[in-house]
């Protein structure tokens, strides 16, 4: 990693504001320029804070009460069932089955309404996910709010890579959805293709004009 490669020009700042985490030139390819698209937040600090999806419930264990420094252990616990499903509203759209994807493609961009809230499905670029293959993200937007995130393709190069993506992709999907309401900065648990996923996700968000 050469420091000379670090950029902080206006172009890079626009790119940064657009992509958030995504280390663009390393992690994905896109067929269009990405500069000058400032104003989009990263996943951790969404600009759509005012448009929180009401169906996404923040499952917070720490919200149960004041902390205590005395850990105790009940060997015979009696669990109190609490519904921790993230959505009490519409069920999330099932992720489409994986299919082989080219290493690059032109983003599918739905028409962007010039007035009124944004609605529809928007597809991100096919992003390279390192050695694990490619990933492409589709988002569903209802009244300007992301209500669902699915993957059209994900790393499927090898069996091992399938195992990786099977856990990483849904995690990141939930991270993106939760980040809209919970301001989660990071997730504990493995995530191998986060860079490419976020690149494609941000492209889809851009396509939606959010």
């Amino acid at each position: 990693m050469k420091r000379a490669l670090f950029v902080s020009t206006g172009t890079a700042l626009g790119l940064a504001a657009t992509l958030g985490y995504a280390p663009a030139s390393q992690s994905f390819e896109t067929t269009e320029g990405l500069d000058g698209l400032g104003g989009l937040g990263s996943l951790g600090t969404p600009t759509t804070a005012a448009a929180v999806d009401p169906t996404v419930v923040k499952p917070s264990a720490s919200a149960t009460g004041s902390p205590t420094a005395i850990p105790t252990y009940d060997p015979n616990p009696t669990p109190t069932p609490v519904d921790t499903k993230p959505g009490n509203g519409p069920k999330p759209k099932a992720t489409k089955p994986p299919k082989p994807a080219p290493s690059s493609s032109t983003p599918t961009v739905e028409p962007i309404p010039t007035t009124g809230p944004v609605n529809g499905d928007f597809t991100g670029v096919v992003a390279r996910a390192g050695i694990y293959g490619t990933v492409q993200v589709q988002i569903r937007v209802v009244n300007g709010v992301i209500t669902d995130i699915g993957t059209l393709s994900y790393p499927n190069k090898e069996v091992e890579s399938q195992q990786l993506s099977a856990s990483a992709i849904p995690l990141l999907r939930s991270e993106a959805l939760a980040a809209q309401s919970a301001n989660i900065s990071s997730v504990s648990g493995a995530s191998y293709t986060s860079s490419a996923y976020k690149a494609s996700l941000q492209a889809a968000i851009k396509a939606a004009g959010l």
Binding site: L13, A17, P23, Q26, S194
Partner: protein, 277 residues
């Protein structure tokens, strides 16, 4: 590539980076009211350290000290000081966990990988702080070391992933100058073995721990995954540590990071049934 993000949403600046290393991804996230390119330089230093860790501890390379030790080509006394220090700390965690965490019990010789990832995240986070950047989170493939805050007055908020691929974060917690690590049965394919039975059977679906030390967090999460609820007997003795354990359809959590557990009644009330997704 590292990226400097200025005044996003009118909030703090951020310097972010993702590095592919150790066959996984490590994420840097530095934040403050004002950041300049010096934040990218400290990231570069951290990245260099991550690759140095690979040159010390990778068991997949033939040219590392740990491989030489594993293959019997070198003695412990010939290891670099930092390798010996890490192995010493692994010994400590082995003792703390009653032998459940045992890097010496795996096939092929000693393997401290279950400690190194979280330890390295801690070291890098402290490197960043030592250069004057007080707010940083280092996510080493799911082991996150946090220092300072993610925004003005807001400690870092970290989500805990669901044990299986079922589209949800099961909980969030604030991590204040510490580390969080999660081990899940999904890691079965990796070199997690119950040293007591020699099998790969896990007692829990996942185990998350929050505490003051990244390397220990990494190892303790694995140990609790293997030991299950009986492991709380020794885990609860550790001051400053919290746990979030998913067993079957239930989540058991305790300690300062996860809310009240002052009495058994309250402890019971604080257990959630996981959504059967």
């Amino acid at each position: 590539m590292s990226t400097l993000i200025k005044h996003l949403d009118g909030g703090w600046d951020r310097a972010v980076h993702q590095e592919e290393v150790w066959g996984t991804v490590v994420t840097f996230d530095i934040r403050d009211e004002h950041l300049d390119e010096s934040a990218l330089e400290v990231i570069a230093d951290g990245v260099e350290f991550l690759h140095q860790v690979d040159r010390w501890f990778s068991t997949y390379r033939i040219d590392t000290p740990i491989t030489a030790l594993r293959m019997g080509f070198a003695e412990l006394s010939q290891m670099p000081a930092i390798v010996r220090e890490v192995l010493n700390r692994c010994e400590l965690v082995k003792a703390l966990t009653g032998g459940v965490f045992d890097p010496w019990a795996v096939d092929g010789g000693v393997d401290p990988s279950g400690f190194v990832k979280g330890w390295a995240a801690d070291v890098v986070a402290d490197m960043v702080v030592s250069q004057g950047f007080m707010n940083v989170a280092i996510n080493a493939a799911g082991d996150v070391s946090c220092r300072g805050e993610q925004s003005e007055g807001q400690p870092w908020v970290i989500g805990i992933r669901h044990p299986e691929e079922t589209h949800t974060i099961i909980a969030t917690t604030e991590v204040v100058d510490g580390a969080i690590a999660t081990s899940g049965e999904y890691e079965r394919g990796k070199h997690i073995i119950n040293p007591m039975t020699g099998t790969r059977d896990m007692a829990l679906r996942s185990a998350t721990v929050v505490g003051p030390d990244g390397g220990m967090a990494d190892a303790l999460a694995t140990a609790l995954l293997i030991a299950g609820l009986p492991g709380v007997a020794w885990f609860a003795q550790l001051p400053g540590w919290s746990g979030y354990l998913v067993e079957g359809e239930n989540a058991h959590f305790f300690g300062p990071a996860f809310g009240p557990a002052e009495t058994f009644e309250q402890s019971n009330a604080s257990e959630q049934e996981l959504a059967a997704c």
